[in-house]
């Protein structure tokens, strides 16, 4: 208590208050990890124990010993990375053209991209289910990656475009005078200058692919392809939910996005305010 007072008097009062509010806000995540590390007897303790008095790796080990869970995890990684790669491949040249090249119909493409940001995923779930069934793509990584890219692509264009706009158009012109094609200018001059933008977009598109639930439950029906989000949902289906097991698999599913965010926080905050959106 004494140290708290001295901190307060040294002008850290606001910091303490800020930290307290942040702690309250993030409590659910703390509670999830704590529950994942607890034996079943400890979970239903009343009053609940707010501090980690018993740490038990049992639930986590149990969840990971089910061979389906590592499979789900790998599937999510494949879908997340696939969605990132496909979105970047399609969005980067498009965003560059929208920012720098004098094309007709630019505003139409902008309009489509912007308004498809607002699309509910569920709207395209049925049509994609039908299209993929006909093409033999249902229950495949490719189908899931394509489905998630429909959501991630407009978003990627919107996040990338401002980054290209920040690069002077004269650079393209200068490269062309030096004998580059437009493509060459884009590839050799503009892209190396847009690494931050590409990285930001990659983070966002990965988060979209990793976090998707709807496509994971509508376009997949085998464990070989099922992402971890759908795995969590399946675990919640039972009437008697084993909370430490559910929290354990949730913790596992949270780790990649969390670690990614903590490493790249600066880019996320910037990208969010420039492009302004995730679902």
């Amino acid at each position: 208590m004494k140290t708290l007072f001295s901190l307060y008097h040294r002008g850290y009062g606001l910091s303490l208050l800020g930290l307290l509010m942040l702690a309250i806000f993030l409590f659910p995540i703390y509670w999830m990890v704590l529950t994942a590390l607890r034996p079943s007897t400890e979970i239903f303790a009343y009053p609940p124990h707010f501090l980690p008095n018993v740490v038990d790796l049992g639930p986590i080990k149990q969840v990971l010993s089910d061979p389906k869970v590592p499979r789900y995890f790998i599937n999510s990684a494949i879908v997340g990375l696939g969605c990132t790669v496909l979105s970047l491949l399609l969005a980067t040249p498009a965003a560059y053209a929208l920012a720098h090249l004098p094309l007709r119909g630019k505003s139409l493409l902008m309009l489509i991209s912007l308004s498809s940001l607002m699309f509910p995923a569920i709207m395209i779930a049925t049509p994609l289910f039908v299209i993929f069934s006909r093409m033999g793509l249902s229950d495949s990584y490719f189908g899931l990656i394509v489905a998630n890219t429909t959501l991630a692509l407009p978003f990627a264009i919107m996040v990338l475009r401002p980054f290209f706009l920040a690069i002077p158009k004269q650079l393209t012109e200068a490269a062309k005078i030096d004998g580059c094609t437009t493509w060459g200018a884009f590839w050799r001059v503009i892209l190396p200058l847009s690494v931050t933008g590409l990285l930001t977009t990659a983070i966002f598109t990965f988060l979209i692919g990793w976090g998707d639930l709807l496509f994971a439950i509508t376009l997949v029906n085998s464990d070989e392809v099922r992402p971890i989000t759908a795995g969590i949902y399946a675990n919640m289906g039972n009437n008697t939910i084993r909370w430490n097991a559910v929290m354990a698999i949730s913790t596992v599913a949270m780790l990649p996005p969390l670690v990614l965010f903590l490493i790249t926080q600066r880019y996320v905050v910037r990208g969010l305010t420039v492009g302004a959106v995730k679902e």
């Binding site: 606001l14 910091s15 800020g18 930290l19 509010m21 942040l22 806000f25 993030l26 659910p28 995540i29 509670w31 999830m32 239903f44 303790a45 009053p47 609940p48 491949l89 399609l90 040249p93 498009a94 090249l101 094309l103 493409l109 489509i112 912007l114 308004s115 498809s116 940001l117 607002m118 699309f119 509910p120 995923a121 569920i122 709207m123 049925t126 049509p127 039908v130 299209i131 394509v146 264009i157 094609t181 493509w183 990793w210 976090g211 639930l213 709807l214 989000t229 949902y233 939910i241 909370w243 929290m247 949730s250 599913a253 949270m254 969390l258 903590l262 996320v268 905050v269 969010l272 305010t273």
Partner: protein
């Protein structure tokens, strides 16, 4: 591809380089445009067609077998009492989510834009809640809201606010309140981040001028901050409207729309119709109605942001 481009350029360099290159420049947008056309625009048209037909699980994959039924799917949707419930639920859900996300977001934004040690780092950490999959946060909140051993009931009882455990999720009177509560938590970081950016974008000189004129803290907020923030606020509100209106994962994982339709929103009702009851035509009709609303909101959003940029 690259070689061809340079050949064409070499030949035409002297005559009209601009026009030639411009045509090839369309190749930059073509893949993305084709992709969106195929997987975004076509599904929208497909849904419209689906909503005008009598489609069953047996005929879903073969569109030629589906008989045209006009607007009768829409008529059935409007006659379905569950639809009215979900529309009201969606409006209530959206209204309260936005009010609290903006109110709390604004309060926190004002707090965290003050300069104190760690402010920048702390406000960034709120976004942790935004990065993790909604399924994950949804299941955590189901656990927190649990009737017997949930922490929320424990806190409310300790504070003396309730005397009996509330089964938040299985009680039809509290299910919608529960999903709204979770959604406020979920949307707060996004609103906070945009509001902080908006606040930091305001010119500081105006505040200095207001201070010289003797304005108090509240007066500065009321007569300087708010009016200057209006354009940014408007776009944040519309964006929030769109994202809240189309919510799916959260409701689906926390309550599944239940009990019965007590916490169903439009998207979860459509999901149940299509993927549980195989009422493809009616499900598509609901989604098209939702689409119209979202489309109008998007156009409005685009207009507001463009005005802002000008």
């Amino acid at each position: 591809m690259v070689d061809k481009t340079s050949d064409v350029r070499a030949i035409d360099k002297k005559r009209e380089p601009r026009k030639r290159i411009a045509h090839l420049d369309y190749l930059f947008v073509a893949p993305a445009a084709l992709f969106l056309l195929l997987f975004m625009v076509y599904p929208v048209l497909f849904n419209i067609s689906l909503s005008l037909r009598d489609v069953t699980a047996a005929t879903l994959l073969d569109t030629s077998q589906n008989t045209f039924v006009g607007l009768s799917n829409y008529a059935k949707v409007f006659q379905n009492p569950a639809f009215a419930t979900t529309v009201i639920n969606t409006l209530v859900f959206t209204f309260f989510s936005l009010v609290f996300q903006l109110g709390l977001g604004m309060a926190l934004a004002i707090f965290y834009t003050r300069s104190f040690p760690g402010a920048r780092y702390m406000r960034g950490l709120y976004l942790v809640a935004w990065t993790i999959p909604i399924v994950v946060s949804g299941s955590v909140f189901r656990w927190l809201l649990e009737g017997d051993a949930g922490v929320i009931n424990y806190l409310l009882r300790t504070l003396g606010l309730i005397h009996q455990s509330i089964f938040w999720i299985s009680n039809p009177n509290t299910a919608l309140v529960s999903v709204i509560f979770v959604n406020i938590w979920l949307g707060l970081p996004f609103n906070l981040t945009l509001l902080i950016a908006a606040l930091q974008g305001l010119p500081q000189e105006v505040y200095e001028a207001a201070s010289i004129d003797g304005a108090s803290g509240w007066q500065k907020y009321r007569f300087v901050t708010l009016p200057m923030l209006r354009p940014a606020l408007l776009s944040i509100v519309v964006l929030g409207l769109i994202y809240t209106f189309k919510v799916f994962d959260l409701v689906f994982i926390v309550t599944g729309g239940g009990p019965l339709n007590a916490s169903d929103v439009v998207s979860t009702l459509a999901y149940k119709m299509v993927f549980r009851d195989f009422l493809f035509g009616q499900g598509a009709a609901i989604l098209n109605l939702l689409f119209v609303v979202l489309f109008v909101l998007s156009l409005f959003y685009i207009r507001t942001t463009q005005r802002e940029e000008v």
